[in-house]
Symmetry: C2
Subunit: 344 residues, 2 copies
Amino acid sequence: MKKKTTIYDIAEKLNLTAATVSRALNNNPKISEKTRELVQATAIEMNYEQNTLARALKSGKSFNVGVIVPRMDSNFFASVIRGIEEELYPKGYHVIVCQTHDQEELETGNIMSLLNAQVDGILMSISNSKTKNKIFNSLSQKRVPLIFFDRKKDISGVSSVTIDDYNGSYLATKHLIEQGCKRIAHLSNDRSLEIFKNRYLGYKQAIIDHGLEFDEDLVIETFSKVAEGRKVAKQLLNLASPPDAIFSSSDFTALGAIQEIKEQGFKIPEDISVVGFSNEPFTRFMELSITSVDQSPIEMGRKAAKVFLEEVDAKDSKKNPQQIVLQPELIVRKSSLKTNLEAI
Amino acid sequence: MKKKTTIYDIAEKLNLTAATVSRALNNNPKISEKTRELVQATAIEMNYEQNTLARALKSGKSFNVGVIVPRMDSNFFASVIRGIEEELYPKGYHVIVCQTHDQEELETGNIMSLLNAQVDGILMSISNSKTKNKIFNSLSQKRVPLIFFDRKKDISGVSSVTIDDYNGSYLATKHLIEQGCKRIAHLSNDRSLEIFKNRYLGYKQAIIDHGLEFDEDLVIETFSKVAEGRKVAKQLLNLASPPDAIFSSSDFTALGAIQEIKEQGFKIPEDISVVGFSNEPFTRFMELSITSVDQSPIEMGRKAAKVFLEEVDAKDSKKNPQQIVLQPELIVRKSSLKTNLEAI
DNA sequence: TTGTAAGCGTTATCAA
DNA sequence: TTGATAACGCTTACAA
């Protein structure tokens, strides 16, 4: 194996010491311009590449950050990761992505794996399962910055970047009301997670603010799968007084609901309007495009990465945890737009 | 900061040396059973965690492998990554995922980044652009195993795990012929990539084998975007003698084609049948579900990871590059299944 | 401005 | 079976 060039090789060739070479390479001020240029030129000539492992061992940093997401094949999370990459690559960091598949064991396991891999920080969106705080405490003990995005937990001292789910939900529900809908059902999700709790609350408040009757029977807790959406829609359609609109906290359940509604012969949006959440690409591509709430995931990723950079630089000084909240945008499409407003 | 426990701490507490502790922890045979148990118990008690960085520095390995994919938000690549994870996590490796977004600069940049991060190997699916062989040569010079999956390049000494695209294509085309289609168009893609060349060739051969006329005008090269599918379908429908079926090398272009066909008032599959490739989840979820070719991505990932493990263990001994080819499966759905065969 | 030397946490080699 | 020591490649006081 062709040995890699080290700073010793450069030092030897130039009759200097490794220390000087190291300084020259790192643009340390305590060095002459001439030496610096000579060293840097020689480094290029000899194909020198820094051994990041050694630097990491010495500095205690790995220049890797871990990103933990429930899954990476959703457009939302993939886009957040993209945003994180955009911000972190230029700073010399690498991004290790792990998926939890919403399983608590995997979530805990991933955190431990990443810690073991010496990541300099963890950016994560927590899973549905109620991961114990214990593991997060061990993170702060080790002084590994933890930043939540999208799905957070309230842990003191931990920063987060989320969207205003409450407002997104409020906007979506208000839109349905303005389209003339009177009995709006809500497909909720594990409300021990803030995002789903807030989506529920925003929905509820919009109903109340507009003088409609809030009916708890129209709120169903399910989870983000197409098949679940079908199942739940079936339940709703069987009610004595079925809804004339469904606002889902997930695009996937919205899709399932749409399939079921159409199959039972109802028209969308005329009979029943549907709105989803997340603005997954398929909501745009469907024959019946789906109204949804966009969460600006790239922006979310970039913001989370910036917070990480601040915290990792802050070292031992007291942390000022930030709670950044982005504003969502309602994208109106066919599934809820009644062109003739006679329905009102 | 609470200092991490090192083997020195354990050694000190037990009046041993770090070397002995290291041996005990690594189940080195040259140690007494008693010491081993004592050390291991103490390690647990003191919350010892191995510093993988130091181990990496010493061994020259990082226990990280890099995975490069065009994008991670397609079900296909996400599933391959899942397969790789399943195989590699138990062996103590971590997986660093990078996306190229089909840009050559990013592809080259990612490889260099990963090398700089000291990955022990790279598993990749190459991008559409014609990445220069130079970068791959530098990989083999550094003795970093490179394994291609799905989208490969023929480089001597490099292993690959692919599916039999030729056969998948052949099956899909044959299926359309059996459904009574006579003029089958093919949406191709950059044929400098083997997968798309093979899908083209399988299609062509099936046409010829079944006595149909092969018409080069029915083959259109495009790229994997929904909007492209629409555009290309428009072209095809404008032909003097339009096709009665479209076999697309991508589910995304198939989807676009379907949108356009329906918009122009044709019926699917009666007037025009459509088959895609990759078995993305949306092909199943659409109101009009789409026939597609499944590529068993998880299996592909696992196989690729296994090849990596073999190569990384082989050390300096001569490599025996493997070319593993998996068999695809045709999943027939509504977009091509004519229930009444009167069309024949 | 440059050199010396210690140290980051391991593992491997040699000696005891 | 265990201990002492060097080495992996780099950074950084401290000394010159």
